[in-house]
């Protein structure tokens, strides 16, 4: 039942065929017949992006550790192979054993970004699975969405059978148990009964069991269950005690080149810094740390299993781990003199980070450091709750220069709520100041900074979920003015790199992020018009999206630049991230008045609602333990 014999003759005709053949270290091929429950897991982007994805790797391993469960992976195929697969009748396949995705019990798709929605449709279509969930029969897999975008799956409600919110480790095992039991009983009640059993867990959202009513003005009136036993609200899952879940243990090591060639350890999950634009920080609460000793064991084992020479210590704000100093110096000691390099992405703007970076760069060169002040003016940083003073920022960057770093990258956003032209122009002044101070402190002209700008997209379950987006023309005008302001001083401007994205893709991401079920028709139309890989600028077409909106009668502005008021029913209100809607509204009001919110790890609880709603608690150290020297082999 492998389709490899049909696929193989097509591979010499496509670019980078290695991405379709599997054979990675850590990959698992199990016997089909003896598996009671079979999962196909998809990251709906190209292999080079999807393979390193932590979520898929973790679930793949957790599922395959179950003796009677089989999990394989599939990724979005590039248009060159898609065309050949259609021509030769080759279905969407898994890379592990090249089995047709349509043969599995469950098809789990992890959405890190909404721009992967059109790729879901391609995969379903190639798999021979009806695009619309209502057209599927008992012969088709249950299509299950996960990942951060699943916190508002309404735009893809037509296409998925179910969605799971939050951490996946335990959720996939619970779903597996339900499917296993239903199959063992002889599939009573068919697909409908299985979905009902999943919905009754109160942590699996089955869109078909909810009706959405609309007001005459287009806003949602209400969302209510249409079946007995289906909960009014579906709750997110939270994996507590990460030391009990030290995955990936056997990381997947690809032959193809991918975006990250490293062993990644999540050093903690969740973040309570409270940056108001950050959906990840809001929906993954509370903070749960991995202990220093588990991190040390995972790094040692991960390097051994993979042969990688780079280790990434990942989280939403890695320098915030309660024992990050000991972790960095301990790992630097253990790997000193080897060719292993350590990296700490996602760090705050403060001098402590430079101390950490110095520890981590003992083996390597001081190539670049990244800081994310996010907002150009002090005023806008108060709005987004990114508490960095200009003085701190400049002092931190200058410290980096004087400690031997030549290149510093600064991340900002454009299009933030209440933003004015001046807020954006302040980025230029800040960058000039950084170079001027850096030159003075080092006495060298050989220092650079890169200003990198991302477009702000308001996300569900954040204080900015009510905000209006700035139209792309406004964004593009501000970005052009910023370029002019940076280059206004030619001496300083020469030392400053400038990278940005146009406003148009952000607007579409905004449509998909806060869309409701009526957006499904737009996604379907875009896909029918040839939309694929919308997260890639060379494939994204704004004209295709606006045409699709016009074709199906959706007002793009109504979904994006319109500000919502306190009473509006939001499309995701029946999906429970634990955050109290009143608290979110208060935080939105605080944003508008520039009132900052502290972090609940070191100040009293500010009642965001997550811990009591989810029966969870902050899990942080310090444990007081240390990393011991590695025993020589």
């Amino acid at each position: 039942m492998s389709v490899f014999a049909d696929l193989e003759p097509l591979l010499p005709l496509v670019s980078k065929p290695i991405q379709y053949v599997g054979g990675e270290l850590g990959a698992v091929v199990k016997d089909w017949e003896s598996a009671a429950v079979r999962w196909a897991l998809m990251y709906p982007d190209a292999y080079e992006v999807g393979l390193p994805n932590q979520g898929i790797q973790i679930l793949y391993e957790v599922l395959n550790e179950q003796p009677d469960v089989l999990a394989e992976r599939t990724y979005a195929v590039w248009p060159d192979l898609e065309r050949l697969m259609r021509e030769h009748g080759v279905p969407q396949f898994t890379v592990d054993a090249h089995r047709p995705v349509g043969d599995f019990d469950l098809f789990g798709v992890s959405f890190a970004t909404e721009l992967g929605y059109t790729n879901l449709l391609t995969a379903l279509d190639l798999a021979g699975i009806p695009l619309r969930a209502e057209d599927r029969t008992d012969a088709h897999p249950i299509v299950l969405a996960g990942g951060h975008a699943a916190f508002n799956p309404e735009p893809i409600a037509d296409f998925v059978d179910a969605a799971v919110l939050g951490d996946g480790e335990e959720a996939v095992l619970q779903v597996t148990a339900i499917v296993r039991a239903w199959k063992a009983e002889g599939r009573p009640g068919g697909r409908d009964e299985l979905l009902l059993r999943l919905a009754r867990t109160e942590s699996v959202y089955v869109p078909r069991f909810y009706d959405v009513d609309y007001l005459p003005d287009g806003r949602i009136q209400r969302v209510v269950p249409n079946r007995a036993g289906v909960p009014f609200r579906v709750h997110k899952r939270t994996t507590m005690d990460l030391d009990q879940w030290p995955y990936p243990k056997k990381p997947l090591v690809p032959l193809a080149e991918t975006v990250h060639e490293r062993y990644a350890v999540e050093i903690f999950r969740g973040c309570t810094r409270g940056c108001r634009f950050c959906q990840a920080g809001m929906i993954t609460r509370p903070v749960r740390e991995r202990s220093i000793t588990t991190i040390g064991e995972m790094v040692a084992n991960g390097l051994e299993e993979s042969g990688f020479s780079e280790v990434g210590l990942l989280s939403l704000s890695s320098a915030d781990h309660s024992e990050i100093g000991d972790i960095c110096s301990g790992l630097a000691d253990q790997y000193e003199g080897t060719n292993v390099s350590l990296s700490l992405p996602s760090t705050r703007v403060d001098a402590f980070n430079i101390t950490l970076a110095e520890e981590l760069s003992r083996n390597g060169r001081r190539t670049g450091l990244t800081f994310a002040p996010e907002g150009g003016s002090e005023r806008i940083r108060k709005v987004i709750n990114k508490m960095v003073s200009e003085e701190d920022l400049i002092r931190t960057v200058v410290t980096a220069y004087t400690n031997g770093w030549r290149q510093v990258k600064l991340y900002f956003m454009c299009g933030l709520p209440t933003e004015t032209d001046d807020d954006v122009l302040q980025i230029a002044r800040l960058a000039h100041e950084v170079i001027r101070a850096g030159r003075a402190a080092t006495g060298s002209k050989d220092i650079r900074c890169t200003v990198s700008i991302g477009g702000f997209v308001p996300k569900p379950h954040t204080p900015f979920q009510w905000a209006s987006m700035a139209p792309p023309e406004v964004i593009d005008r501000r970005l052009r003015a910023l370029r002019g302001a940076i280059n206004a001083d030619r001496s300083l401007g020469r030392a400053i790199g400038y990278r940005y994205h146009d406003g148009e893709p952000s607007l579409i991401e905004g449509l998909l992020s806060r869309g409701d079920r009526r957006i499904g028709a737009v996604i379907h139309r875009v896909w029918a018009l040839g939309g694929r890989f919308d997260g890639w600028s060379e494939h994204f077409s704004f004209a295709r999206w606006t045409q699709a909106c016009a074709d199906v009668g959706v007002d793009l502005d109504w979904y994006t630049v319109r500000e919502r008021d306190a009473t509006e029913v939001l499309p995701w209100d029946h999906l429970d991230s634990g955050l109290d809607k009143d608290w979110l509204w208060q935080d939105w009001q605080d944003a508008l008045s520039g009132y900052e919110q502290d972090d609940c790890r070191w100040t009293p609880c500010f009642d965001c609602g997550v811990c009591p709603a989810m029966d969870t608690e902050i899990q942080i150290g310090p444990t007081g333990r240390k990393l011991l020297p590695l025993t020589p082999v």
Binding site: E8, Y20, F308
Partner: protein
Amino acid sequence: MSRKPQPEGGQAPVVQRIRLRYAKRGPLRFTSHRDFARAFERALRRARVPIAFSQGFTPHPKISYASAAPTGVASEAEYLEIALQAVVDPAVVREALHAALSPGLDVLDAVEVRAAGSLADRIDASRWRIELPGVEPADAQRAVTAFLAAAEVAVERLTKQGMRTFDARGPVVALVASAVPDEAGEVPCAILDLVVRQVTPSVRPDDILSGLRVVADLVPPVPPRATRLAQGTLTAGGEIVDPLDADRDGAVVGEP
């Protein structure tokens, strides 16, 4: 002239060199040379091979590759050389690297370097087997006859330098067509057995197929499957000698 600054300490000296023969088989024939190089460096770490590193701020493991088969072409005879900072048993290294690479990237042989001359010095020709599913053996035979009868067969290929035209006939030492033993009802499949000299630009199986199209309009209906069976020193008798033999022979000579 000022010297480039060097990091303190420096790298351990090279005390041993080992040459390996490896295969690229089945689906993993789609591994590109760059893909293989990354996988091999990771395998060196997993297998804890005491590889030597170059000097400088970004030390690189000392690995040198002999000419690599193109992406999509299988091989039973790829060669590389590694420099080590500690002496190890080549057989142990072979086994450890074989286990550390994905199945399909198989390490077949390892010998310590004993004789003079680089790998490249000992490789001047390759033997290839090209399967042509869907091609009638008689058609293949006609094309081969026409190809061999020509004094020169100009073919084009897109290289890094752009489209280049070169002669595919000159470097061909031998080209023989045969048929896959008949299996009733199966699609026909011709086989080409090819020996070609290493020249610049290199003439590869796809160039020979371009040549067969030029001289006899032979166009396989599906992509052919090529495998490098051997590469090494071409003898007067047309045989290819394994480039590791000289080191093996050197070992025999050197032992008491």
